[in-house]
């Protein structure tokens, strides 16, 4: 299950005593961990465990209150921004533009002017590049897929995905998980925050369990449902 092309033991993400406060609430409490290249990590945990905050800090969208993040050997995340792909909880797309218009604009932010790159990214997630419909008229599942296409269109080395399968039907979600496995096999490092652990089990290299702002365990095995709270199980169902 491990990728081959760009796999190495050098950490792609190195977190050193990462702390994040929102007012007096500590969302992250002293996380020191490393994540190596060519692996697909699935970050799980209850609501409020700090999963999305961790992803935002790693993406450089939120500044840590203490500690540091080193991405691909760089302390300044902006220096490696072209190697990072981020898919947020919201779709991060313009509703008034079509799928291709959205991708063309975001590709331009990475210095990509080639239309075929956008077309390939759309096809990769199972969307038709010729679709003229505006994103505001897309179904939730289509938006999620387009959002994934936006996150990976510049071929990043590190991909951060926050709940990529929310509102996606079971069949499409399985397809997306397979796509993620293929991307990982090309040597990319992927961090996926999701409650749908069963979906990721066939392709995941490691499950990272978070609780109350800390990483409490890392395992090759999917965390048992008993370890999850009722609320997360209900959300998963």
């Amino acid at each position: 299950m491990t990728g081959t092309d760009e796999t190495s033991c050098e950490p792609v993400i190195k977190l050193d005593n990462l702390v994040k406060f929102f007012g007096r609430f500590a969302a992250l409490r002293g996380i020191s961990q490393s994540f190596v290249a060519g692996q697909l990590y699935v970050v799980v945990g209850d609501n409020g465990a700090g999963k999305s905050t961790l992803l935002r800090v790693v993406a450089g969208l939120t500044q840590p209150s203490q500690g540091s993040v080193t991405l691909l050997g760089a302390c300044n995340i902006r220096n490696v921004a072209h190697s990072v792909g981020y898919m947020g909880h919201a779709p991060l797309l313009y509703d008034e533009l079509s799928g291709m218009e959205n991708l063309r604009y975001f590709a331009g932010l990475y210095g990509i002017a080639d239309d075929s790159v956008c077309r390939a990214a759309m096809r990769q997630v199972g969307l038709d590049p010729e679709l003229q419909r505006r994103v505001g008229q897309y179904s939730q599942g289509m938006r999620q897929r387009l959002s994934l296409a936006r996150a990976v269109l510049h071929d990043p080395k590190l991909i951060l995905l926050d709940e990529p399968f929310s509102n996606v039907d079971a069949h499409s979600a399985r397809e997306m998980a397979t796509v993620l496995g293929q991307v990982r096999d090309r040597g990319k490092t992927i961090l996926v925050v999701t409650h749908q652990t069963a979906l990721m089990e066939p392709v995941a290299d490691e499950f990272v369990q978070m609780s109350e702002g800390k990483i409490v365990s890392r395992s090759r095995q999917r965390p048992s449902p008993q370890s999850s709270t009722l609320s997360s199980e209900l959300e998963r169902i």
Partner: protein, 226 residues
């Protein structure tokens, strides 16, 4: 992978024009607002041609300032829907390119509004220029840039506040007073033909240069503020 500021500015500007063309959020609300101001003021004052020339500078620029605030609030509102601004922030694109594109976009929208509203001002207030007309064009260009460059910056500053529609005029109006003074006085001088507006035009030019540089220097911090 080097990302060119010019190409990002260009593509962001084109994207904003396309979004505005499809939604017409800013233009429609600006036009409606400015139209109301012109009509209401014309009923309220009912001045003769001579009086009109003396007060028109103030009326015109107050109408454009209030109308511009509507467009300036829209500028960032569409970036907050679906949190699209995060997609820009994680990209290697230069923050200043985003600011410049937004400022130039707002400049275009407000200029279009001015072009559409100018004939109405002429008709409703029986305006006729006594001084050289090119000076009115210069003050319109410099004055509009003064409004939108600060407005774009302060609209970005207030996007994360709860009452951003109220916050923007509260911050923008006081800081625009020197520019507004220059715009009103220059317009009045040109319309009445009394004196020369050179001092005010130079002051407006300096104001534009200083505030454009300050906004460009500080925009990255504003964009990444939490």
């Amino acid at each position: 992978m080097l990302v060119s500021s010019i190409s990002v500015t260009r593509s962001t500007l084109l994207k904003d024009i396309r979004l505005e063309w499809r939604s017409k959020d800013a233009i429609n609300s600006m036009l409606f607002f400015a139209l109301l101001v012109v009509v209401i003021f014309s009923f309220a004052f009912d001045p003769n041609a001579e009086e009109s020339r003396r007060i028109a500078g103030g009326l015109i620029w107050v109408a454009f300032l209030f109308a511009a605030v509507v467009a300036l609030n829209q500028t960032w509102a569409r970036e907050l829907r679906n949190q699209v601004l995060d997609a820009y922030r994680v990209s290697p694109a230069p923050p200043n390119a985003l600011f410049l594109a937004k400022a130039v976009g707002n400049f275009l929208f407000v200029t279009i509004l001015e072009l559409l509203m100018a004939p109405l001002f002429v008709v409703f207030y029986q305006l006729r220029s006594e001084g050289p007309l090119w000076q009115l064009v210069v003050v319109a260009l410099l004055g509009t840039w003064a409004l939108v460059v600060n407005g774009t910056f302060f609209a970005a500053l207030s996007i994360r506040t709860r009452n951003r529609e109220i916050m923007l005029p509260l911050i923008l109006f006081p800081i625009s007073i020197p520019a507004l003074l220059a715009m009103v006085d220059t317009t009045t001088i040109v319309l009445t033909g009394d004196g020369t507006p050179d001092f005010w035009l130079k002051m407006l030019l300096v104001y534009d240069v200083v505030f454009t540089l300050v906004c460009l220097l500080l925009f990255e911090s504003v964009l990444n503020a939490e």
